[in-house]
Amino acid sequence: MSLAVAKKGAITSIGPSAWRPAVVAIAILLVLAALPSLVDPYQTVLLTYGLIMAIAALGFNLLLGYTGLLSFGHSAYFGAGAYTVAFIVRDLGAQSMELCIVGGLLGTLLISALFGFVCVRHTRIFFSILTLALSQVLWSLAFKFFWVTGGTDGIRVASAKLTLLGGLVNFAGPGSFQRFVFAYYYYVLGLFALATVIMWVVVHSPFGKALQAIRDNETRASFVGISVRRYRWIAFVISGAFTGLAGVLWVPLNGLTTPDILYWPFSGEIVFMSVLGGFRTFTGPIVGAVVFNYLKTYAVASTEYWQLLLGVVLVVLVLALPSGIVGTAARLAARFTRGTS
């Protein structure tokens, strides 16, 4: 009896047709698109940060959730994107955001291809330590070469000087920041939607299935002819590029890039987001990033000891809800539908 019920539950949970998630996604997208006219600009800024971090966490989770590799050095790729943009704006005098994105992505691809080539030689804890050590190389360089990177002062990137969509949208004149916040939200939302679709296609492609095979059993995966190390490397580069794109988008909104985003606790925050949402699901990191961003903002605003608060959340999460928000919600929903049918 119970077996039959469990089987039915399993079938309904793994066999939704492709159009249902698409409809849900479009509905969420429409709600997100309507939000800036309903809430005050501060909430719009917060949500923009959340969406940017969602892109980073989405990229990160290709490694943790789908390939089974825990990177503790994703600050490196976020920072690589952010610093490349800062250099492009400061040293080349570029104003086009699209140029920044292309440049930032190239910079990140270079770093993540190089670091990934080294890191995928190991798995498990050694992979984590390798990614951590390499990310700290970048941090120490950004920290020490102050005549290039501005040291702890960082590099300023003025949002007012940037243009979006090849110069169609610029922010010269009065009310510059308000107009920037409004337009930039849609810019980020568009790229977030694009990134999500691309990641969805990647994890559901044969390549994505191969990654999951590697995650579940490396030996069997190599026996069926998957070139494990190369697949891991490609996954690493894609993952780094997504996180790098987040770094690129983050800089103009923050207006400043500092070595803090290269320091290893920031990598920890990216891990935190994915676990908070649930790294065993596709949407988990997205939800986790947005929620984490709100959580952190309100914790910082309400208490001096916000780090303690977040630490307690993480500990409770690991001990009590290891499957995260989305994973737990899915389990509760499954139990609910089982209960009613």
Partner: protein, 296 residues
């Protein structure tokens, strides 16, 4: 020549502190296979507790009756306090996680790091604490034409004594045999009647004691500041990666290498001094993932 000797002593001083931190990290990994991201923060907490005790009312009373010896006797209070913290953390937070994948070990110790960092801010405030009076009282000794603080030599001696003491505990006592047996095969040790849970608490507490001792001995020379643990953890990582995770000899050799490279780096290539250390760690991981002294 004098400069060279002083720089050598500086790197030994630095290596002694790093060894204390890294040996604890390595011991905990060796026995329980847990990479403790909060280890650097425990070191910082040890520094704060020691500075607070030495600088507080107890410290004044002790220095009044016993002079600098009284203050030195108070320093280990930080280490003992951290051992107690460790003995509380292991059964409550870590024990439920041994069966889970190691990602969760990293996550929970990262959460612990965040909690402890703010607990320090709450307990001791944002201003740096120091136990500099010890350093002042102990004076300095002449080396060539220059003066060198006696206290630094004392720390080097502590590092050596700690290394010998740990070696003696692990390789020459009954407890050490049990520790090594548990580290090699937890289930077999349990089957032979070893109380594995107790060994784990003891091993974790000893590891934390070492971290706290590192903080305690560093605080007369450098002030305890917020964020010092986060930096120290990464350097301790470099040490254990070079020497081999879980190896005591490795921690010693790794600490010496990092101490020497760092001192030379500050002298000759200050901009890339840290980057060089991380690159050495990366190179070792690539060529010999188990480190110079690690087991497979």
């Amino acid at each position: 020549m004098t400069i060279f000797i002083i720089q050598l002593l500086n790197s030994f001083f630095y290596a002694a502190v790093l060894f204390l931190i890294a040996a604890g990290l390595s011991l905990i990994y060796g026995v329980m296979r847990i990479v403790n991201l909060a280890h650097g923060t425990l070191y910082a907490l040890g520094a704060y507790v020691s500075a607070w005790v030495v600088g507080g009312a107890v410290g004044h009373a002790a220095s009044g009756t016993l002079g600098v010896a009284g203050l030195l006797l108070l320093l280990p209070v930080g280490a003992v306090a951290i051992a107690v913290v460790g003995a509380v953390i292991e059964p409550t937070l870590l024990r439920p996680l041994y069966r889970r994948p190691e990602e969760y070990h990293l996550l929970i110790t990262f959460g612990l790091l965040m909690i402890l960092e703010d607990a320090m801010k709450f307990l001791f405030g944002g201003t740096p604490l120091t136990a500099g009076s010890i350093m002042d009282h102990m004076g300095s000794i002449p080396i060539g034409r220059l003066l060198y603080p006696t206290y630094n030599l004392f720390v080097i001696a502590i590092g050596l004594i700690a290394a010998l003491g740990l070696w003696w505990i692990i390789y020459r006592t009954r407890f050490g045999v049990i520790l090594r047996a548990t580290s090699q095969d937890r289930r077999m040790a349990a089957a032979l009647g070893v109380n594995v849970s107790r060994v784990y608490v003891q091993a974790f507490a000893i590891g934390c004691f070492m971290a706290g001792l590192g903080g305690a001995v560093v605080v007369p020379a450098q002030a305890a500041v917020l964020g010092m643990g986060i930096e120290a953890l990464i350097l301790a990582f470099v040490v254990v990666v070079i020497g081999g995770l879980g190896s005591l000899e490795g921690a010693l050799v790794g600490a010496l290498i990092v101490g020497l490279v760092r001192t030379a780096g500050i002298q000759f290539f200050p901009e890339i001094e840290l980057a060089v250390l991380y690159l050495i760690a990366t190179a070792v991981l690539l060529i010999r993932p188990t480190g110079l002294f690690g087991r497979a």
